[in-house]
């Protein structure tokens, strides 16, 4: 079942690298917003989510802090990662076996040839409603995020590389000179 797929995804995929496409829909707005980029993570708590199109944004979890940077706004926000693990789907991806500490996991069956798992954050101050993870032959291939405002984000991974050679400082973030850094 998808629960076993998640368990061995966590055990066998210590780190991963993939290209992703993201589309964001909502009930009221016209067709969603498309974006794409590359994603990398290393358990626990380290990830680098680089948006290349339509504009440059970056989310980095360095194990201690969560950094978010927008190049054109030249602004960085930073906050502690442990608060974020329950609130950021990106942190869920790089979570280790304590995922069950923060999320209730439920197998929701087969769809589009993938085995789907639904993760619902425990505790009430989470900032999103649920995350669905679709597992296929290449491991985690699709993530579907449902927030508390009726927004749905669909992320498809491709060119998935499992346990790639580690790159030094990949999960470190140093704010560029002149950027406004906000937060603790």
């Amino acid at each position: 079942s998808s629960l076993d797929k998640l368990k061995n995804f966590i055990q066998q995929t210590h780190s991963a690298k993939a290209h992703f496409t993201q589309s964001v829909f909502s009930k009221s707005a016209r067709p969603g917003q498309e974006s794409s980029g590359t994603m990398q993570f290393m358990r626990p708590g380290k990830f680098r989510w680089t948006y290349e199109k339509p504009y440059e944004q970056l989310i980095v979890g360095d194990g201690v802090k969560l950094w978010v940077y927008d190049a054109e706004l030249n602004q960085v926000t930073v906050r502690k990662l442990d608060q974020a693990i329950g609130s950021s789907p990106a942190a869920l991806l790089a979570g280790n076996n304590e995922i069950e500490k923060f999320f209730t996991l439920k197998d929701v069956g087969l769809k589009e040839g993938l085995e789907w798992l639904e993760a619902t954050p425990k505790g009430n101050e989470s900032t999103f409603e649920s995350v669905r993870m679709g597992f296929g032959p290449a491991g985690l291939q699709v993530m579907e995020l449902h927030d508390n405002f009726g927004q749905i984000t669909l992320i498809r991974f491709s060119a998935i590389e499992r346990n790639p050679k580690a790159v030094a400082d990949l999960f470190k973030f140093v704010p560029p000179k002149g950027a406004d850094v906000i937060g603790e």
Partner: protein
């Protein structure tokens, strides 16, 4: 990052595209907003739906997840945070000041975002092709750094706003604007 081609238009074409943006009374924009006051603030992606009766501004994380929603209609303004706390007030200015610690000038912003002055006194500076380059109103200084053409209307692509120690930057990645009378 995505560079926006400089808008090359002859003066009469600019004139008509400025008039087109003057007729807009409903729009939806997708973009990014950054707010900074002293060492605090935030930034996020933004989706703003506006028509004559109401506004809905949704602040989103890069992953497209809602972080906060401000909606205004004739009954007043409601702010809902990501963890579903709800706050009400008569107008957005007092609501955001009380809850977020900075003042969102929504009343003026509805016009400023379109590159035009709101009702009341304002000082306007035009660039050599007749586009608004700076607007000073209600104690705010708004600088228009770039424009884009959307369905024949000349609309801002990047603007900064300043009032005292509060700075806002707004980048509009996509306009959907309908002009009255069509």
């Amino acid at each position: 990052c995505a560079t926006v081609p400089e808008v090359a238009l002859s003066p009469p074409a600019i004139q008509s595209s400025i008039e087109a943006s003057a007729r807009i009374n409903a729009f939806q924009l997708n973009g990014r907003v950054g707010v900074k006051y002293d060492e605090k603030g935030f930034f996020g992606n933004v989706r703003w739906q506006h028509d004559v009766q109401n506004d809905e501004i949704l602040i989103l994380s890069p992953l497209g997840q809602g972080v906060a929603q401000i909606s205004q209609n004739s009954a007043g303004v409601t702010l809902i945070t990501a963890d579903q706390q709800t706050y009400h007030a008569q107008d957005a200015e007092t609501l955001t000041e009380e809850v977020l610690g900075w003042r969102l000038p929504l009343k003026g912003l509805r016009d400023w975002v379109l590159g035009r002055k709101a009702a009341g006194e304002a000082t306007i500076t035009l660039d050599q092709s007749g586009r608004v380059s700076r607007l000073v109103q209600d104690g705010w200084q708004i600088d228009y750094l770039n424009y884009q053409l959307s369905d024949g209307a000349l609309l801002p692509q990047k603007l900064t706003m300043q009032r005292g120690n509060l700075e806002m930057k707004l980048i509009v990645d996509h306009w959907d604007a309908n002009q009255s009378g069509f």
